[in-house]
């Protein structure tokens, strides 16, 4: 019997970079453990990471390329699969131009560099991701406001932390890990929690602000109201480093606290107390979550939050919100070859004229893609590739997406399983999990680290996504490296390390310097924090942040609220699933067998609904059913529902995509989206609920 071999690597069951020790026996991963030496996770690991072996070795996992024939899916070779994709893509380029191709990814398996390189060298500007409403949207807003992305500096020991719409111990948006938050909290930091639901953190918090879902940007304005009125801001910083402070102060006057109370439903005094605590406790960090991005206020919220960090002197200050210094590796942007996409092709970016911030981030809002597929306007989208994404479940207005994808001439999908989206494809490419990946991980993040994710095993004929782009790229005549590892050597070249040497080292960290703006200012056109954005002004947009009422709320649509009296707060996170992933993993599904909708006990009683009943949730766009969990820690008018649900155990090709999928209820009309980023509203809409008789 073979000895157990231990391999040090890095998880990617979510966006995370948690350190892992994988144990291998007879060529198979037998155990996953946390790596105590990881600077990201300090030995902790979540259920999703621990359960990776049940994904990697799942009986339903597809381990070879396939094509859809007359008899359904048929096994083919990699050569046939890649030749087919290349042939179909070349045909579209010849007949319609490369812009009629799209490349699509979900939250990604850390292949952004390769994904974008493939798209840019293909000549298509139509890059379809979740970035319009998740993470890249906050980065886009940060870049135009302060030149870089400010991250809560847990290593610098904040004395006050605002958790704003985030659950860091369950789900980790990128830089942050729950472990870092917890360490800082345990050292005695004050805690302010902003969340519509009573939760673990609200019980720990010094102050809990239970806001009406979707009103975060108004609350941020309320904070500013207090900070300006009571002169709690850092006057020197404001004078020297904020562009447009006076104009911004005028804007804030439009948000007196009584008005903010009306909008957010948080008492004036509580807002005042929280603003004081944040502004007067030094240093203080804001850790904010994706719900703030998934509404019409996406860009404005991030901009106002950065304003708070700046005006209180917490920007790039130890323990505040900082710009981490990356290690000296080659950047994702350089590897991605954005320079290779011609200005003519850039101009063809779908929705690019309208959603200029998305275009600046080199992506499109998917809405523009679905429209081009359905209407062929401004030109048709004919074919494309989805890698690690299941938009039928995870993007807004799923019914339209289903119709749009049916119109494609050709679709390739790279994934682990035949998901509802993959079932619509013509070619299936079997992708590798993070256990099957060699990569310099986390290069595109802003926490100052790159981490060695090294291949632990190979399974079936699966390839890591990087290799799929590389080999497909070569077939399209693109310039790539011979091997995945050669490309890693290129990425590591500026450090003087090879991939083999980096693997031994485990990770690299940039040398942190605080207050970098004191030399040379911020990387914006005025070299200052642009609360008044010269870029937005150039685009003919409102240069100052504001709060816009959610287009489908009891306030904006009292007429509709008669029929749909509840505020649906969609996208409730689970600790076990990552968006639409993991529903087939036995260990995780046992913990969370059903899609859950949380309803206040009073509301439930009124509607004759009991705990564990199935209920219909209905919006103007459709209805789905989920199972009830009572929660007296929400406003009785708010209903909170999980997202990402499909049922892998249902074996027909739909896999139950339309049973509990909350995105059949969400809206993606242009008027509901962020005006510059094209963020779709996955979070706040009107709904009704009723008991579902059949169960």
């Amino acid at each position: 019997m073979e000895e157990i071999k231990k391999v040090r690597t890095v998880c990617r069951s979510c966006h995370g970079g948690c350190g892992v020790i994988a144990q291998v026996k007879n060529g198979k991963v037998v155990k996953i453990e946390g790596d105590p030496d990881s600077p990201i996770s300090y030995g902790t690991l979540c259920s999703k990471g621990l359960a990776i072996t049940q994904i990697a070795y799942h009986p339903d996992r597809i381990l070879h390329p396939m094509k859809k024939g007359h008899q359904g899916w048929e096994r083919i070779t990699w050569d046939e699969a890649l030749d087919t994709v290349a042939y179909q893509f070349k045909k579209v380029i010849e007949q319609h131009g490369p812009e009629s191709l799209f490349i699509g990814q979900g939250t990604g398996r850390d292949y952004e560099s390769h994904f974008s390189r493939f798209g840019n060298l293909l000549g298509t500007p139509n890059v379809l991701t979740a970035g319009h409403m998740c993470y890249l949207s906050r980065i886009g807003a940060s870049l135009i406001t302060c030149g870089r992305f400010p991250v809560c500096d847990y290593e610098g020991e904040p004395k006050c932390i605002i958790l704003w719409a985030v659950n860091p111990l369950w789900t980790n948006p990128d830089e942050y890990k729950g472990a870092g938050f917890w360490r800082a909290y345990k050292k005695g930091a004050k805690l302010i929690v902003i969340d519509p639901r009573k939760n673990f953190y609200t019980q720990k918090a010094d102050l809990w602000l239970q806001l009406r879902p979707g009103t975060d940007a108004a609350l941020a304005m309320g904070f500013f109201q207090v900070i300006i009125e009571e002169e709690l801001y850092d006057k020197e910083f404001v004078t020297r480093y904020i562009h447009g402070w006076d104009a911004f102060v005028e804007r804030v006057k439009e948000y007196p606290l009584y008005k903010v109370e009306q909008i957010t439903r948080i008492g004036e005094e509580l807002i005042r107390e929280a603003a004081r605590m944040y502004a007067c406790t030094k240093p203080a960090g804001i850790h904010w979550g994706v719900p703030t991005e998934q509404t019409i206020n996406c860009t404005d919220f991030t901009r106002t939050a950065i304003g708070l960090m700046a005006a209180t002197g917490n920007l790039d200050a130890p323990g505040g919100n900082v710009f981490h210094v990356p290690p000296k590796v080659r950047k994702v942007s350089e590897f991605s070859r954005h320079d290779a996409l011609s200005p003519t092709q850039r101009e063809k970016r779908l929705g690019g004229e309208q959603y200029k911030l998305a275009a600046r981030m080199a992506l499109i809002t998917p809405k523009a893609a679905w429209e081009a597929m359905l209407t062929e306007k401004p030109y048709p989208l004919k074919a494309g590739i989805f890698v690690g994404t299941n938009p039928l479940i995870t993007e807004a207005n799923a019914k339209d997406i289903y119709a749009a994808l049916q119109k494609l001439d050709f679709l390739a999908v790279a994934d682990f399983f035949l998901t509802p989206t993959a079932e619509l494809a013509d070619i299936f490419l079997p992708a590798g999990t993070w256990l099957e990946q060699n990569h310099m991980a986390e290069n595109w993040k802003f926490h100052g680290y790159v981490l060695a994710r090294q291949k632990v095993v190979e399974i079936g004929e699966c390839w890591q996504d990087h290799k799929i782009f590389q080999e497909l790229g070569k077939r399209m005549g693109q310039e790539w490296w011979d091997t995945v590892e050669d490309a890693l050597d290129y990425l590591l070249e500026p450090t003087g390390l090879t991939w083999e040497q980096f693997k031994e080292k485990g990770y690299l960290k940039g040398d942190m310097i605080y207050y970098k703006y004191r030399q040379g200012g911020f990387s914006t056109p005025t070299r200052k924090v642009e609360l008044f954005s010269t870029i937005l002004e150039d685009w003919g947009r409102d240069p100052l942040p504001k709060y816009t009422e959610i287009p489908e709320s009891p306030v904006s649509r009292p007429d509709l609220a008669k029929e749909y009296p509840f505020i649906l707060n969609a996208g409730l996170r689970t600790p076990t699933f990552f968006h639409s992933a993991n529903r087939q993993v036995p260990w995780l599904r046992e913990i969370r067998p059903d899609p859950i909708v949380e309803i206040h006990p009073d509301t439930a009683r009124k509607h004759g609904i009991k705990e564990m009943d199935w209920v219909w949730i209905e919006s103007p766009r459709g209805r789905v059913k989920q199972k009830v969990k009572l929660n007296d820690g929400i406003d009785p008018v708010v209903v909170v529902a999980e997202h990402g649900w499909w049922f892998p155990e249902i074996k027909d090709e739909g896999h139950g995509w339309d049973i509990s999928n909350i995105n059949l209820l969400t809206d993606d009309s242009h008027q509901s989206m962020d005006p510059v980023m094209g963020a779709t509203n996955l979070r706040v809409l009107l709904c009704n609920i009723s008991r579902c008789e059949q169960g």
Binding site: E33, W170, P575, W587, E598
Partner: protein, 149 residues
């Protein structure tokens, strides 16, 4: 070696369920027996786990003396002797005693006995993001708990 205990600081359980999966992996368990489990009662999380009781009701309920307490105070099952009658499952006041449908025997937390002998922490406690699972010498834990109160 003295008696060993595991205790969970309930107020610090964030409901992430990582301990459950770590336990399943360590004990090579599939769907079914959950030797540690976190019940969600929004917004509270209630960990259900074996307390390795000083006077274990499960041990008393067992008609064939398959359950015993070792020198370290750990309540363990002799799988060979277990007849699968489930008396212990009913007897446990915490709902911690489980049943393995495949082996058709009772299943319970052994505090990762194998790991303990190698000087390692129980699998569940090791990955907990809040460190709410505390294990070690029983007397020391009791002293620590007393000083907290």
């Amino acid at each position: 070696m003295g008696k060993i205990s595991l205790t969970i600081l309930k107020e610090d359980c964030c409901g992430c369920h990582s301990c459950e999966v770590a336990c399943k992996q360590e004990h090579d368990l599939g769907v079914g027996p959950r030797l540690i489990r976190v019940i969600e009662k929004s917004p509270l999380f209630i960990p259900i786990y074996c307390h390795h009781c000083a006077k274990p009701p499960c041990k008393d309920a067992c008609p064939v003396e398959a359950i015993y307490r070792n020198d370290q105070g750990l309540v363990l099952i002799n799988e060979e002797a277990c007849i699968g009658c489930r008396e212990c499952v009913t007897a446990c006041p915490f709902g911690a005693m489980q049943f393995d449908d495949i082996k058709e025997v009772a299943a319970k937390c052994d505090l990762c006995l194998e790991r303990l002998t190698e000087g390692k922490a129980p699998a569940c406690s090791l990955i907990c993001p809040t460190g709410c699972m505390v294990w070690g010498d029983t007397t020391e834990l009791l002293n620590r708990a007393a000083s907290r109160a």
